[in-house]
């Protein structure tokens, strides 16, 4: 049997339940005797809590319990931990102020949790929450990271003087200075990478319960990594025995990073479920999601690229201020450092790079990883700089990229990473062809004839995925390993259940992982079930983020499958009375090499559970194996995106006329799913470039983009259809040769679009999001300048 599944666009098995309303998301669950929670949140960006009066709320109908920061403190519950310790360039650990699960005496962002009201019905909980009287002394707030670091800014935490979390750097500063001294050309730009609000369409949701029968807890939660959630909550916050806590992440309606983290609500409700001895359900309403989900991006960056007279890159110098929000979220400290500055080489052999990052606390929602996490910010810097340098020097933007591409692998970058393989020229060539760059000049003059402005922009991105080799991550400050676990349980009938520590919240693992398993074992996909998202079933897991599921989680499964096959060979050798070394396994058959004597996989499975004549000193019954896989390196997906836009100068409206994405994801298991991931990523990236921006009012600290009416989510009619293609170089260090595809679209598309837009407008730079109103204003003032 040839490999019948890998590389084939197999339709998704999860679709049937989602299409018929049979999905099982956290809010769909109703537990017997369940209560409902509503959080009382701070209306102020920064305030001291003078007093909280609960009498009226307690007397309200249906109230089961009300808890505040004082109750939490009395119960000796710790604050939320941060998983990544960044050591500053002064050699000191980052400032890590407490992240209380309910505010004790100070609130630090609009939406900060102050109390939780638990009642029989949601309506009663809402009514009672309105009766909670909190007396606030409003304090001055600061929402911008640069402003927060300025002398005299309002201070958020005693433990973080100057609102500084850390100043950290990477690379060779002296080398960069020396290279700049001999540069023929220097390109300088300053950017804001706009704050984004993830907005998975399923809001965060929790259903927490406690069982007196066995003193155990069960937490259903919309989450991307249930084991990590449990570990952090048990070991660092609540001090609960891990084996008495079950965390289930059932169907999850999108995550994009925002559902990685251990959130205060998850912890408060788990603890409170024991206090009230009833299950407690909470689902964020969208306004709450806007205020309390971890946001993404929000960088302010100054960058300089030094080039020789031929456009060869000599050095890159980057200085970034990152906004971490009011508290350190789970991965927050790593995003603007390890996941950002290490990607600044891009696809280019820039010999020296230096990047310094200062991270600041502000009176805003915590900022953490959001689709791409650090890598979009890095790619934006690199690709906007490269395109701008090309224009300034009068070099074709594709040519300047080719001149600087890394061409021999493995390649050690000056910023810590070792790229194993890639073929940047090939993806660029293919993209140029698919985008018909040759015809652009004609299309541009046609647009011009119609009074429209047309522009074309490239982005050649690279990302580090398959997070992460634990040794590397540990050396860079990770407080956890970043391996993955898998278990293959072969049933006596030859059916297989696979348990994975990865989590699927739209990625289709139940299908693509089953394709891999079925191919490896030479059995039908119908005989393979993939189980994920439940700590009581899956042995362990680090979860899904950083495009790691297949490269790391898939490899753990492969390792477990290898063990199954090895054991199967032993059983086959016994049955066929042959030497174990003579047994070959292919196409679902264990065969004595060079003979026609064989046993099918299902026969071996049955024998494993009916071991009547096993030599017990050599062979154990059963066929069930697990494996942990820690990658030896990151994977490096890369590609070229080309965007062509047309701007209507009368209205400032941007139309994306063409968008081509050519990606190198290594080997591909299910091209249909991969394309879907690219499409979704592209729209999130293009949404950042054109539509989305999380805005806090600088005076009041209020989130002014707090609903879908103010925060411009990309809709179908804002976006084009895409031309996507792949050109794969197999990853060299995992057995599937896969790299990961979840984030690429969101990484490569913002600079491609902004390069096209600046080309159309004939301006050096333009800030995201490029809204029609701002484009129109720019064109107007340009015209006025011309006229003057």
């Amino acid at each position: 049997m040839a490999t019948p599944y890998i590389g084939v666009p197999v339709q998704r098995r999860e679709d049937l339940r989602f299409l018929t309303g049979a999905g099982n998301y956290t809010d769909d669950l109703t537990l017997p005797h369940q209560t409902h929670a509503v959080f009382v949140r701070s209306p102020h960006a920064h305030a001291r809590i003078r007093s909280i009066k609960l009498e009226r709320a307690r007397a309200a109908a249906g109230v089961v319990g009300i808890f505040t920061g004082a109750d939490v403190a009395a119960a000796k519950i710790n604050g939320l931990p941060c998983g990544w310790l960044i050591t500053g360039n002064d050699g000191k650990p980052m400032n890590e102020p407490a992240h209380p699960i309910l505010a004790l005496d100070t609130v630090r962002h609009a939406g900060d949790g102050v109390a939780v009201v638990i009642a029989e019905t949601l309506a009663q909980a809402r009514d009672a929450a309105e009766q909670v009287e909190v007396d606030y002394e409003v304090l001055p707030a600061v929402v911008d990271a640069v402003a927060a670091l300025a002398p005299g800014a309002p201070l958020l935490h005693e433990g973080a003087p100057g609102n500084r979390c850390y100043t950290w750097d990477i690379g060779d500063k002296a080398g960069v200075d020396a290279a700049f001294a001999r540069a023929a050309h220097v390109t300088t730009l300053e950017f804001v990478n706009n704050r984004l609000i993830p907005n998975a369409i399923e809001p965060r949701a929790v259903n927490a319960s406690y069982s007196r029968a066995d003193d155990s807890y069960t937490l259903y939660v919309a989450n991307q990594n249930p084991h990590v959630e449990r570990l952090l909550m048990c070991a660092f916050v609540l001090g609960l025995p891990e084996h008495k806590v079950r965390v289930v992440a059932p169907d999850v309606g999108g995550g994009f990073g925002s559902k990685i983290y251990l959130y205060a609500e998850d912890v408060v409700l788990t603890w409170a479920s024991r206090q009230v001895n009833r299950p407690i359900k909470w689902t964020a309403d969208r306004s709450e999601s806007f205020l309390s989900d971890a946001h993404g991006r929000d960088h302010h960056t100054k960058a300089q690229l030094a080039l020789d007279k031929d456009g060869q890159f000599l050095a890159l110098r980057v200085n970034t201020t990152a906004n971490l929000g009011a508290y350190l979220s789970t991965f927050a400290s790593a995003v603007p450092t390890i996941l950002y500055a290490t990607l600044l080489a891009g696809q280019y052999a820039t010999p020296v790079i230096h990047c310094e990052v200062t991270a600041a606390f502000t009176n805003t929602a915590p900022v953490d990883a959001y689709r791409g996490a650090g890598r979009p910010e890095a790619t934006y810097v690199v690709e906007r700089m490269v395109e701008t340098a090309a224009r300034e020097m009068g070099i074709d933007p594709a040519a300047i990229r080719r001149r600087n591409f890394i061409r021999s692998f493995p390649y050690q970058t000056p910023v810590a990473l070792m790229y194993d393989i890639g073929d940047y020229e090939a993806t660029l060539d293919r993209a140029i062809e698919l985008a018909d760059v040759a015809g652009f000049a004609t299309r541009r003059s046609q647009s011009q004839a119609r009074g429209k402005l047309r522009g074309l922009g490239y982005a050649c991105y690279i990302e580090a995925c398959g997070i992460a080799p634990s040794s590397v991550a540990g050396a860079l400050g990770a407080r956890a390993g970043l391996f993955e676990a898998g278990e293959v349980r072969v049933h006596p009938t030859g059916k297989v259940t696979v348990f994975t520590g990865s989590h699927s919240h739209g990625q289709g693992h139940e299908t693509s992982f089953a394709q891999v398993v079925a191919d490896r074992l030479g059995i039908s996909m119908d005989d393979v079930e993939i189980v994920h998202g439940d700590t009581s079933k899956v042995l362990f897991g680090m979860g899904t983020y950083g495009s790691r599921s297949l490269a790391v989680g898939g490899t753990a499964i492969i390792k477990a499958l290898d063990k199954v096959v090895a054991k199967g060979k032993k059983i086959a050798a016994h049955l066929l009375e042959a030497a174990e070394t003579d047994i070959e396994f292919a196409d679902g058959q264990f065969k004595v090499a060079g003979t026609d004597r064989s046993k099918a996989f299902a026969e071996i499975a049955l024998t494993a559970y009916v071991p009547h004549n096993f030599p017990h000193d050599k062979l154990e019954p059963g066929l069930n194996e697990n494996a942990f896989y820690d990658p030896s390196n990151f994977t490096f997906p890369a590609g070229t995106y080309i965007c062509e836009v047309e701007v209507d100068p009368e209205t400032g409206a941007v139309n994306i006329e063409r968008f081509v994405a050519v990606d190198d994801f290594g080997n591909i298991i299910n091209p249909m799913i991969v394309e879907g991931q690219v499409h979704g990523g592209l729209v999130q990236g293009l949404g950042q470039a054109l539509n989305e921006c999380g805005v806090y009012d600088s005076a009041s600290g209020q989130l002014t983009t707090g609903t879908f009416m103010d925060y411009c989510m990309p809709r179908a009619d804002d976006m084009p259809s895409f031309k996507v293609a792949t050109h794969g170089t197999a990853c060299t260090h995992n057995p599937l040769g896969v790299k990961g595809c979840g984030e690429a679209g969101a990484i490569g598309s913002p600079p491609a679009l902004m390069n096209a837009l600046t080309d159309a407008l004939g301006v050096a730079d333009f800030a995201m999001p490029a809204t029609p109103q701002r484009i129109w204003a720019t064109l107007q003032s340009k015209q006025q300048r011309k006229a003057a």
Partner: protein
């Protein structure tokens, strides 16, 4: 204050005593336990709650249960045939990978069915414009548009 609401849901009569302020979507999800209809926002912007009421697509988060008194409602659970054969729109979404996490999907499918009633053979621009009331964060819309196009051709 409670009020009795009686209506037809997926072809069957349904009645319950609910608080006056109960939204139709809560009635569907919590009272009737039909959890395929989802809630994605609180400002009637996302369309995850879209159902059919007397044959028209409506956002069930934006009306009260009592406003549906006497009406006939169809939810995502009610559009496949009794023998389990998917509605052509459901099938088109599946064939074209028009869904990822599945959360927006019921609303998308219900809107799309309604769209084809108004525009039996829409072009891409029409589909995109008509999808204005439905947000999807996963698919980038590309395959949803393809799915609706395919469904419109299938019914040609």
């Amino acid at each position: 204050m409670t009020v009795k609401v009686s209506l037809t849901v997926n072809g069957k009569p349904a009645a319950a005593e609910v608080e006056e302020r109960t939204l139709l979507v809560s009635f569907i999800r919590e009272t009737l336990r039909l959890t395929g209809t989802h809630v994605g926002c609180d400002t009637a912007q996302c369309g995850a709650c879209t159902i059919h009421m007397d044959g028209q697509a409506v956002k069930s988060c934006n009306i009260l249960a009592m406003q549906a008194e006497g009406k006939s409602i169809t939810t995502i659970e009610g559009i496949a045939s009794a023998d389990g054969t998917l509605h052509p729109m459901q099938e088109a979404f599946r064939q074209n990978h028009g869904l990822q996490c599945g959360f927006c999907t019921p609303g998308m499918v219900m809107s799309a069915i309604d769209m084809l009633r108004h525009y039996p053979h829409p072009d891409e621009a029409t589909i995109r414009a008509e999808l204005d009331g439905n947000l999807c964060r996963c698919t980038g819309y590309h395959n949803i548009v393809k799915a609706i196009q395919a469904a419109s051709q299938a019914s040609a």
